[in-house]
């Protein structure tokens, strides 16, 4: 089995060589007063079609040419190579027509979303692994509900047992909202542990006013606050991994449609042979 490093070296070398070959071909064709735009354009369209097949392979077993990992590797390296082919196709200029500008914008955003996705799929799992436990994205709502109910149960039992409402007041004023409601949109974009730290600090502050049974209950609340924050962190980061695909895939098909239209128009308006 090839090591990860040698595989990356091989794939990178192949990608750079292929991209260099395309640039060299365009240079060669330009020297001969040729129109490399058509060749590079069709090459780019073919590459994007191939990249789009990565999504279809899950639906069409007939295109399951290799493992998902193999598809992903091909998707990544061919996707990176499209940047060079695209640059060569547009002669490293920014298109300024409406159609071509739209097409270039679609390509650029799709490419950048791919890069962002690549970065997130490489970094987010490591961040999630640093959290105490693994959670399935689909189960997180139920687990959050479970945490909220546990906390409420612990507090109610303590209040009933001790007759003191110190912990109950703290729960209703500071924790109940936190446990019942979802986190704000800013947290989904940029998760942080500020709220968790603040709540834990406040609970620590309250602890000195608590009786022994309440202190034992508060210990459970500490765990539940941490757990809720872990669940929120998981939810936010996994949501991020799922949402970027909305952007990436959402842009892919418009890109293909506009690219096909562009290629047809290129032939229609090419001017014909002398």
């Amino acid at each position: 089995m090839k090591s990860f490093a040698s595989r990356r070296l091989r794939n990178s070398t192949l990608t750079i060589a292929a991209a260099a070959a395309v640039v060299a071909y365009a240079w060669w064709a330009n020297l001969r007063l040729g129109r490399p735009d058509f060749v590079t354009g069709y090459l780019l369209l073919g590459m994007i079609l191939f990249l789009a097949l990565y999504n279809l392979r899950k639906k069409l077993p007939i295109v399951s040419w290799t493992t998902s990992a193999g598809w992903l590797q091909a998707h990544i390296y061919i996707g990176l190579a499209t940047a060079v082919v695209f640059g060569t196709h547009v002669s490293w200029r920014l298109p300024d027509g409406w159609l071509e500008g739209t097409l270039a914008t679609l390509y650029a955003t799709t490419f950048v979303s791919g890069l962002v996705g690549l970065y997130w799929t490489r970094t987010v799992p490591m961040q999630l692994a640093r959290v105490s436990e693994e959670f399935l994205y689909e189960r997180i709502p139920a687990l959050r509900n479970q945490v909220q109910q546990l906390a409420q149960q612990v507090v109610l039992e303590t209040v009933r047992a001790t007759g003191s409402d110190t912990l109950g007041n703290f729960f209703t004023t500071r924790l109940q909202g936190y446990l019942e409601k979802s986190r704000g949109w800013y947290y989904w974009l940029k998760p942080s542990s500020k709220l968790r730290k603040r709540l834990l600090a406040e609970l620590t502050e309250v602890t000195r006013y608590l009786s022994e049974p309440e202190r034992q209950a508060s210990e459970q609340l500490f765990s539940l606050i941490r757990r809720r924050d872990d669940l929120d962190f998981h939810a936010a980061m996994q949501w991020r991994l799922k949402m970027w695909l909305f952007v990436h895939l959402g842009l892919t098909y418009p890109l293909l449609l506009v690219a096909c239209m562009h290629s047809g128009l290129a032939h229609l308006f090419a001017g014909g042979t002398p």
Binding site: Y137, E138, G250, G272, P274
Partner: protein, 665 residues
Amino acid sequence: MREPLKLDHGDTYERPNQAWVCGLAEEGPTCPLGPTARGGCSHAVACHPVREGDRWVCNRSALRGGPCETGPTPDGECCLQYSCSPVRSLRSQRGRFVWAVALATLGGLCMILSSNWRNEFLAPGALSVHHAQLVARGDDQSQRCASCHAAGNQSALEWLSHAREPQLALPTQSTLCLECHKQEVPVATALLAHGVDSQVLLAGHEQNLESRRVNPMGEFACSTCHREHHGATHDLIHMSDAACQACHREQFHSFASDHPEFGRWPTERRTRIAFDHASHQTKHFPEEKQEFACAMCHQQNETGFQTTLGYEASCAKCHDSDLATSWKAGIPFVSLPIIDTETLSDEGHDIGTWPEQATGDFDGALPLVTKFLLLSDDKAAQGIQLLGSDFDFYDVDPAEQTQLAAAADIIAALKKFTAELSVNGHAAIGERLKKLLGRKISAEELAAVAAHLSAENSAAISEVWFTEKLPESAAAENDENTRIGGGGWTRDDETLVLRYRPTGHADPWLKTWIDLLAEATRRPEQKVVESLLLDMMKPTAPSQCGSCHSVDRTASGALEVSWRALQSPSPGANFTVFSHSPHTLQPELADCTACHRINAASTVMETYKNQDSQVFAAGFHALTKQDCATCHKPGAAGDSCTQCHRYHALERISEPIARIKQPLP
């Protein structure tokens, strides 16, 4: 140490790949069956109670928590019923979102393609300002694209028909380009390399076309080089050096290192005015105590072309007196030679009446103009051809019958002409020129060649020369010369000569006669005219026209006289363009001799003894590449091909190209 809380994840079977998920997932344990494929709730229960005697007992699996505490309802229903409104899975939402975006895009494109804004949307960028201002005219903006693209005003359905009907793609874009640009480039050869016939273009070149990146024998669309839609300020005519070298086999990495020496360029032919710069610089100007400065004779015009000033500004000061001396006696128009009437009569050639003072041994030459006009008479033309265009009656051998017959024919024609001149005046000249040139002579030309010849003078040729004796009181020749100014006629009834006195340099009478003689050399049957013209253009001829004005043979074989120095670039286009303007601004180049160095050893004037303008010795040393390479290098004045060479050359330059390829003399 606070122990982390372990949560019960449950054993729910997650189905994220399915389109629907249980609506209870937000709250707790989900339905074990999950929603139906169409998103309906399956209304599952935790167990199916079994009846044991008269009681219903929970039989929930131990894996799902075992029998519940509540137990079945009295009528045997499970107390844990799962009922929800299933929700779409994230994957399904994503799929619908992608489809929605794709359909929206498709719909948007269809709307745009069917809208009035279609062409603006499809345009791949702004046009250059030159084309933009043209297509912006007119009310129908939808036709803008159609100005250059056949598909520009077609419907989307017609676009789809292109594969089936190729004629929909016509006319080609190049054809549409040429509809507007036919004034600039010849349409027939516009798409050929350099706009020149391929065979002519490759004349003198190695024919190994395989070694070139592009076969120059083919046709090239305008858009090969002129790329539009790159913005208003885009330079449409910019051509890279690499584009030039697509056809040009020799690789030029820089002007200084790879460009060949200029050879004869820019002197493709001898100067139209014969002028020896070296002798004027070292001899004539010092003798006249004049400063020899280039600017005295050459000035730059508004296009940057160095022109040569005219005679009055440049030459008259020194040469006017020579010219006046040369035609002081006037230029003979008609004269009667001395004829041996007795011998002619003895040999059976009766010439009729002949003035007594012109009778004797054969002697005297006919004026060149008279000879020219007599060529309109067939017999006289044969006689002149027999005796030679430069014949003198002195050379007629009385013992030679053929020469006597020729002389008699010429005399008869001369008498006929003088009689016609006496009776018809200017019309007699016009009629003969019409026959000689094969066209009608215009009134302006006739006025010029007749030069106000009076009826009295023309009538006197017959009345006085042939029928009456010369009056004793006739004024002396010198008195006549004093009385008759430039542009007038003098008649010498003693020597029987009618003379014209030119007005000075560029006299219209003389110039018109020379031009008509030159024109007559185009007619193949008038070969003798060539000799007459060359006689008239001899440096020793009275007018001295030939001292400075060269006589060149054209491609058709005829002769033409160069009256003026080159005043503008050669007619038509040329491969190489040069403007003095930006160069002479440089202090070190302001003095012309920085580039144009006179070659004192050159035999410039020798080259004007023949009529081939291509065989010549330049009066200047050849320009060297180093003269230009000092400034024309990257980072300085630049050294791209198109700074000096241009791609589009008209068909007319094909001849100069061929000449350039000739070896140096």
